[in-house]
Amino acid sequence: MSTSTGTAASTKQRRLGFKERVNNLPRAVKILLWVVFAVFLFMLPLLNIPFITTEGSDFGGVLFTVATYVLVALGLNIVVGYAGLLDLGYVGFYAIGAYTVGVLSAEHAKLSWVVVVPIAIVVAMVSGVVLGAPTLRVRGDYLAIVTLGFGEIVRLTLVNSEWLGASRGISDIPKPPGVELFEVPSIDWSSGAPVVDLDTTSTFLKFGITDFVPYYWLALGVIALVLLFDILVKSSRVGRAWEATREDEDAAELMGVPTFRFKLLAFALGAAIGGLSGALFATKAGFINPQSFELLLSILFIAAVVVGGAGNRWGVIVGAIVVAYFPERFREFADFRVLVFGLALMLLAIFRPQGLLPPRRTVRAKRADARQAVLEEGEASA
């Protein structure tokens, strides 16, 4: 037991050492690294890297799905990771975002995509406030079930409301306007070595119906914006108020934090980002129906956040990638996807309870605990 803790701690120290080394690099090198990384993400769907690239399903489409999950996870992380509110009905906001786009750009009006998406965000945010205002006063576990119920109410409303297309859904959702700036070639590996294939290209930015790569680029851009927003807000009074509320609601209130207001804010922001993800989903799919918004999706979203490490934005990104990508990559085992996923969740919970990338606080706390353990052992043997 003690040896395993020791090794775990030392691995962590090494990794932090790596992080420090990166931080100590000159500013120019750091920027260069970021640029390289960004270009890599941008090119990813066209690199066709063997093994990583999904066979059987379009890799651009898969990456887009992964990107939506990342976006959802970032939004849900504000609610679950920062403010500590267990929201099991996140799919409700996702659906509201998607349906707002559907209703306003196809079913009942023909508004432009550029107008519709902001409206979708606002509608989702307002529904977050409407749901949160009465329910955020009840205790945590109840919030879980109330939100679960909310997700189900949204879905059932979609199924039963003719105005929203009932079970047939909404189709012919228009594509966003694009600008055709340049063509990006892809890489062909069929000869065993990478060859630039100038015939198979994606156009930046042309939103068509066969090539999903531009949608992925769009999602990537949105993620970058949301991430920036997340970083700015988290490192402010707002972020501290969320964390204090999560740690001890009464103490926070007695230190002058209007906890209810901040919980509601987290809830509304989470809802807005959920709505945005849903809007993107509707845009790419062009067709939505209630089956796209099953309750199970909420559970997957929560799993993405917790698997990665609730409270750490990079962790939840990793979690979202794991939850969204692996089932797609291993489609040949389609029958066993859910089974394996379930097993993976259980194993993760047992062997990596803080998530794949735990928040910095947990890492540091563990280091300190390890130090403490070493000290105690020293005393015991002395």
Partner: protein, 339 residues
């Protein structure tokens, strides 16, 4: 809930008895009785068992009394030195059939250190809870700065300038020491989502001001070297001090300390007395709940004694020491404890 109702207080553990006995026997009867009742609460009941215990080998952190920590102007009316800052006015609090506070009245003057003492279950913490808005009194009320507090919420009362610490430490365990204090400073800030998102001048100004004040407070407490440690990883004594720093960060007119010396050894208690005096000298009014008679007698200007939810005495430390009702109250506890 348990932190606020005194009957739920953890009973004297073997550890604390062992720790307090030698010192207690050397003290006057009343003090000894009170000291016996001193308990060492769990270090951080909100976290798990991983919080480090106070290590006797740890040296006591030295405070830096010269750092200027005078309260910021928080926009409440000034009260002249020696005038009434807060009045507890005939407060009665009932929980079902239990009367936790029974027509309790006393007041706190600006600039003084008032001790609130009494045997276990006397209603001291409950009194704090009424003053800070955790409970609404069944009848009677609190007047603060000459006006009734009414049904204000907890965070609104904090903004008006009443801050407190907790009997069982309740820090934000997974935040750093600095962040804990910053939350306190934030009480008077108004940076919202927009200001934070666009890094408006308001955000920058408030962050800079908040950081400066938080670091001053940490330096004052001798914790500046541990600003980036997680609260849960601090030694016990530092956690107690950090709680005081967090409360001071809200620039309170009235600072309520709920048994700040619980679990301290005599050396640490002496330092704490120093600390409380320094805090007063820097312009704060202090209300102190404490079991250690020596500490209370040594540091307070006036003392209010509660027993079974009633005020049984009020006066200077010397008067309280000789008050027969107080001695009886404590001897009564002594007999109970002994049986």
């Amino acid at each position: 809930m348990p932190e606020s109702t005194e009957p739920n207080r953890p009973d004297t553990s073997a550890e604390s008895t062992a720790q307090t006995t030698p010192e207690a026997t050397a003290e006057p009867t009343a003090a000894a009785a009170a000291d016996d009742a001193t308990t060492r609460p769990a270090v951080t009941p909100t976290t798990d068992a991983t919080a480090p215990l106070a290590d006797p080998a740890d040296e006591v952190t030295e405070i830096n009394p010269d750092v200027d920590i005078t309260p910021d102007d928080i926009g409440v009316p000034e009260v002249a030195e020696g005038e009434r800052l807060l009045e507890v006015d005939d407060v009665t609090l009932r929980f079902g059939g239990v009367v936790a506070l029974n027509e309790v009245s006393f007041h706190i003057n600006k600039g003084e250190i008032l001790g609130l003492i009494g045997p276990n279950g006397a209603g001291k913490t409950t009194c704090f809870n009424v003053m800070t808005g955790v409970y609404q009194p069944t009848s009677g009320g609190i007047r603060y700065l000459g006006k009734p507090l009414g049904k204000r919420k907890k965070f609104q009362i904090t903004k008006l300038g009443i801050a407190r610490t907790f009997q069982n430490i309740r820090l934000f365990a997974n935040m750093t020491a600095l962040e804990n204090v910053l939350v306190g400073v934030d009480a008077h800030h108004s940076t919202g989502i927009g200001a934070a998102m666009f890094r408006l001048p308001k955000h920058r100004r408030e962050e800079a001001q908040g950081y400066a004040r938080a670091m001053e407070l940490l330096t004052f407490m001798g914790l500046d070297g541990k600003a980036d440690e997680l609260a849960r990883n601090l030694p016990y004594g530092d956690q107690r001090r950090l709680e005081i720093a967090r409360a001071l960060a809200t620039s309170p007119q009235l600072l309520c300390l709920d048994e700040p010396a619980a679990g301290f050894n005599p050396a640490e208690k002496a330092k704490l007395m120093e600390l409380i005096r320094t805090i007063r000298d820097q312009g704060y009014t202090v209300l102190l709940i404490e079991h250690d008679m020596k500490l209370v007698m040594g540091v307070t200007d006036r003392i209010v004694v509660l027993e079974f939810g009633r005020k049984i005495a009020e006066g200077s430390p010397a008067e309280i020491r000789d008050n027969p009702a107080v001695i009886a109250a404590y001897l009564g506890v002594d007999e109970e404890d002994a049986s």
